[in-house]
């Protein structure tokens, strides 16, 4: 019985992640529309897009690697999700989290984008190649503040387990956003880069690169990538809620906290234009990196 409950928890996690992911993205589209004085699409529009793409009747590909690229992407998203404990306590929704999962997540989170890069590389489309080189450069940019922020938390809590980090933030005053605000700032700026919303959307710039890496992916391949994107958005938000906002003890609390975090990149994205690649990387290597180093110094001094 217990095993059955655990296994159903895995599938429920994926279902919840997908649903929350596409609803949040629909919310973003509506919010963007309202800022631009428009009505905007219904909130379930992304689900319709995904169903439509999955029900396309032809799907061409230019070789095995293009076929595998979206599969890599969705595998990495689901794997990332599976190693993040969704709720703080109880054994429902804990999935595969283990001691040291934070180190593992650092590795697995870029796996999907690397797979995508391989897939896009085989299409032979020059826009894809430019988009991939920009995207990978941007990863090099935002990984540094992200790792610095995580290191600050790991040093502060003396653990690499997400579970213990969550358990240590037992009251609102103990949340890492208040205990170590510098790490939060560095982490959230890295998160802006991870979401690929403006100002850091230069890999996918539609007006400039014809949507970049996915420009040769249509039909079911694009549907798979959009599904993967919805799941990965939820996984990233859950990770940041666990790290900085003390996790959540039920799904409603998780939704509220995740939405609050999600509003930061969305609102910044609505009001900002796009950085060029070298500007984005210089930005990531300058301000968030300095803040991240300061947060580590702060943690060492505090202890």
């Amino acid at each position: 019985m217990e095993t059955l409950k655990t296994i159903s928890g895995y599938f429920a996690t994926i279902g919840v992640a997908f649903t929350v992911g596409f609803l949040f993205m629909g919310f973003r589209r509506i919010l963007t529309a309202r800022v631009q004085n428009r009505v905007g699409p219904p909130i379930y529009q992304n689900l319709l897009d995904i169903i439509k793409l999955w029900s396309k009747e032809s799907a061409i590909n230019h070789g095995l690697m293009q076929h595998m690229g979206p599969a890599f992407s969705i595998t990495a998203s689901v794997t990332t999700l599976m190693f993040i404990p969704v709720l703080r306590d109880g054994n429902w929704f804990q999935n595969f989290s283990f001691e040291g999962d934070l180190i593992f997540l650092l590795y697995i989170m870029v796996f999907g984008q690397l797979g995508m890069a391989l897939g896009a590389g085989q299409t032979g489309n020059p826009n894809s190649a430019i988009g991939v080189s920009r995207g990978l450069s941007q990863i090099v940019g935002y990984e540094i503040p992200f790792v610095l922020a995580l290191t600050a938390l790991m040093v502060y809590h003396e653990t690499t387990s997400l579970h213990e980090i969550m358990a240590a933030q037992d009251s609102i005053g103990g949340w890492n956003i208040f205990v170590n605000p510098l790490a939060f700032v560095a982490g959230i700026i890295a998160f802006l880069g991870m979401t690929h919303y403006t100002p850091f959307d230069v890999p996918f710039a539609p007006a400039e690169l014809a949507s970049g890496p996915p420009s040769e992916f249509g039909g079911k391949y694009l549907g798979m990538m959009m599904t993967s994107g919805s799941i990965f958005a939820f996984a990233k938000l859950t990770l940041f809620v666990n790290l900085f906002l003390g996790g959540a003890s039920n799904l409603l609390e998780l939704l509220v906290k995740a939405l609050a975090l999600y509003l930061i990149p969305v609102i910044i994205g609505i009001v900002t234009p796009r950085f060029r690649t070298e500007q984005a990387i210089l930005f990531f290597w300058k301000w968030p990196t300095i803040i991240g180093i300061l947060s580590i110094l702060w943690v060492v001094w505090m202890r």
Binding site: A33, Q36, S55, P206, S215, G218
Partner: protein
């Protein structure tokens, strides 16, 4: 569209059909002057996104090919290639008088007159130029056709490929298309 023995759509087909008609990714092929009507259609004033109509930058991701105006013989070649790269089911909207009968270019030596002879057009929007209101009403017409299962130009193109190819080769003298798979 599959219809079962009771002559009704299956529930899966209903869901697919609903998704297809409420999520139209548009590739606007801005050939003639009609391209100027696309920005107001998409932006704040007329807001086509509330019907699920979104612009896409590449033919692979698009469902609707919007041909906005006259086609010279040179651009017809590119349009054919673009159309064939789109994934089924795909729809074509002919925009403006020029795609219907040549419009003001009716006696031009290097534009095509009737677009329907070279690729299957599902919906025509007439006018010179059609206002954004009529563009949106054309999209609504396309949604109704998809709902009724009548927007099957892509099937006609596959079935009558020889006829379309012959027509295309009649006007395009230097037919040297590169190899590509659809």
């Amino acid at each position: 569209m599959e219809i079962n023995d009771k002559d009704t759509l299956t529930i899966v087909e209903h869901i697919k059909n609903f998704a297809r008609r409420h999520s139209l990714f548009v590739l606007a092929y801005g050939t003639g002057c009609g391209a100027i009507e696309i920005p107001p259609t998409m932006t704040s004033r007329y807001d086509a996104e509330r019907f699920g109509i979104v612009g896409r930058a590449t033919p692979r991701q698009a469902d609707v090919l919007l041909i906005t105006g006259y086609l010279s013989v040179k651009t017809l070649k590119r349009v054919i290639r673009t159309y064939e790269q789109m994934q089924d089911p795909k729809y074509v909207i002919g925009f403006g008088s020029c795609t219907i009968n040549g419009g003001m270019y009716w006696d031009s030596y290097n534009t095509i007159k009737v677009l329907d002879q070279y690729m299957p057009v599902d919906v025509y929007i007439n006018g010179c130029m059609p206002r954004p209101e009529s563009v949106i009403s054309g999209f609504i017409k396309l949604q109704q056709l998809i709902k009724a299962g009548k927007a099957d130009g892509w099937k006609k193109y596959q079935e009558n490929l020889d006829w379309y190819r012959a027509n295309q080769k009649k006007v395009i003298k230097n037919w040297n298309m590169p190899d590509y798979n659809w």
